[in-house]
């Protein structure tokens, strides 16, 4: 295992320290318990947005803290949900009187820890809601399992709910809107290589020189199916197909197309995937009116990508376009 780290134990604290030093105009670090908040308080009366989850997905979530997006982010240990007390502290800090919406990726651990934090925060008389993001169509039989995972679509939920909060929506309205994004977003990913969790020291799984893993999660979990390497266009078809089908998007509709890198894939490859996904969507009569390409929800140094499609209407488009000022998204 070769990593630019000092020890597996120090990765989280030192990442948070470096990140908040580099972006001190936007964010602030809190320790004991650890969370990241905006550098300035949540504007009074604005619904606050809190998200969090295991580390190793940077820039998620700390990179999305700032005006127009999250008010606080709670990083857990590597690939491990944060604890209830961390989340509770972030909720308390972020609340500016209008309540707090938690944006939670659908993993057993995340859901349980956020649930416990909400119980604690409610005891402090804070009005808290949660939306569960579950955009990953790679997980089948979802009603019989832990359900679909939350993956790259989380960024779109955070951005759009963040803009709604800035616009002045109340907690109910922001929650409804966040849920609307969840209902209209689907993703699926592929891994060309596994990633190595620092304390594990070994890759999460092993792929032969000519194998790829389709339907990968963002925690180095093996995916749905292991297949032989194909061309970028073929892989794009394998990913986009289930996304489009599950979302039921088609002729005459508008979409945001998001090609997300898993951390170790060159930008050039993401654009090659984007190019074909866009063509496929347009062949089906779907107009791609907004785009996002880059490393936003990563799995450490994994090589691979995911494709996310969000069905857009005028409201979502306006909120997507609204100003945002965070370390990772800025316009």
């Amino acid at each position: 295992m070769k990593k630019l780290i000092n020890s597996p134990e120090s990765v989280l604290a030192q990442t948070v320290e470096g990140f908040t030093l580099a972006h001190s105009d936007l964010v602030e670090a809190h320790t004991d318990p650890v969370f990241i908040s905006r550098a300035t308080p949540t504007p009074s009366g604005k619904v606050a947005l809190v998200s969090g989850g295991g580390s190793g997905h940077e820039p998620l979530h700390g990179g999305f803290v700032g005006d127009g997006m999250l008010d606080a982010a709670v990083p857990g240990a590597m690939f491990t949900s944060p604890t209830p007390d961390q989340i509770e502290a972030a909720i308390k800090h972020a609340d500016a009187g209008a309540g707090v919406l938690n944006i939670v990726k659908n993993y057993t651990g995340d859901v349980m820890n956020f649930e416990m934090a909400v119980e604690l925060a409610e005891a402090d008389d804070i009005n808290v809601r949660s939306v569960i993001v579950n955009d990953d169509v790679a997980v089948e039989d979802s009603t019989w399992t832990a359900g679909r995972r939350g993956v790259a679509g989380t960024v779109l939920v955070e951005k759009i709910a963040g803009a709604a909060a800035v616009r002045g929506d109340d907690l109910d309205a922001v929650t409804t809107l966040a849920q609307k994004v969840v209902d209209n977003v689907r993703s699926m990913g592929v891994a060309l290589t596994a990633c190595t969790v620092p304390h594990a020291g070994e890759p999460s799984f092993t792929l032969a020189e000519d194998e790829i893993e389709i339907g990968i999660g963002i925690h180095g979990e093996p995916g749905r199916e292991r297949i032989k390497l194909r061309t970028a266009d073929e892989i794009t078809e394998l990913l986009l197909g289930p996304v489009v089908e599950d979302l039921g998007i088609g002729n005459g509709e508008k979409a945001l197309l998001f090609v997300n890198g898993m951390g170790g894939t060159p930008a050039s490859e993401l654009y090659i995937v984007y190019r074909h996904a866009r063509k496929l969507l347009e062949d089906q009569g779907v107009e791609v009116t907004r785009s996002l390409v880059g490393n936003y929800v990563t799995s450490l140094e994994m090589q691979g990508a995911s494709i996310t499609v969000l069905r857009l209407d005028e409201e979502l488009t306006t909120l997507w376009d609204a100003p945002v000022k965070t370390a990772a998204l800025n316009w």
């Binding site: 857990g76 690939f79 604890t83 019989w144 999460s204």
Partner: protein
């Protein structure tokens, strides 16, 4: 050793030592069907538990006090799925064991309360390839043993054996809860990490009380 407060401290210290010894085994199990952190998670948690025990100014009055300290520490240091699950298990157990010493019935009640905690929090049932598959047979064996009038040591021994067997049997199961469920059929053939650590916890209880 009788199943008293002193024992409960030894038990928890022993769990911490065993988890630290075997953490890479658990992480490997979790790498195969999860996200490669279960050993690290529990080790972080139990290391913190031992630190807090070491820092206690005065000895706890009841076994429940010890288990509550374990519960709150795990909740605030483990995270992931196992943090809330074991946290809730020990919290419920602490309520069931608010006594200075356990007889067979009380030992069985402790294990049943832990099972109930895991079920409430995780909403899994037997056969979903989770730690429930160790806790549930353990609670049943403990109840049977207590009903037979056996003492705490015998109750824990019965529970430990059932948990170990339950953990072993998760190998054949297909996961439908937790992270391993994403693998579907591919989860078959691997032992569930959480069931394995549950077996460790009960094995340690049995061994330290002997």
């Amino acid at each position: 050793m009788t199943a008293d407060v002193q024992w409960s401290l030894s038990w928890i210290r022993d769990v911490a030592a065993r988890v630290s010894e075997r953490k890479s085994e658990f992480t490997t199990l979790d790498r195969e069907i999860g996200d490669a952190d279960h050993g690290e998670n529990l080790n972080r948690g139990f290391t913190a538990v031992v630190e807090r025990i070491d820092g206690l100014e005065q000895p706890p009055g009841t076994i429940g006090d010890v288990l509550k300290l374990v519960a709150t520490t795990l909740m605030s240091t483990v995270g992931g799925a196992s943090g809330p699950l074991y946290g809730t298990a020990f919290l419920r157990a602490s309520k069931a064991a608010a006594v200075p010493e356990l007889d067979g019935q009380a030992a069985s009640a402790l294990i049943s309360a832990a099972l109930e905690g895991v079920s409430t929090r995780g909403k899994a049932v037997v056969g979903e390839k989770t730690m429930i598959d160790a806790w549930a047979p353990a609670a049943a064996a403990a109840a049977q043993s207590a009903e037979n009038g056996e003492d705490a040591a015998q109750v824990f021994a019965a529970a430990a054996q059932a948990a170990a067997q339950g953990a072993e049997e998760t190998i054949e199961l297909k996961a439908t809860k937790g992270r391993a469920s994403y693998l579907g059929e591919r989860s078959v053939g691997h032992k569930d990490p959480g069931a394995t650590t549950t077996a460790l916890i009960l094995e340690s209880a049995a061994r330290t009380v002997q």
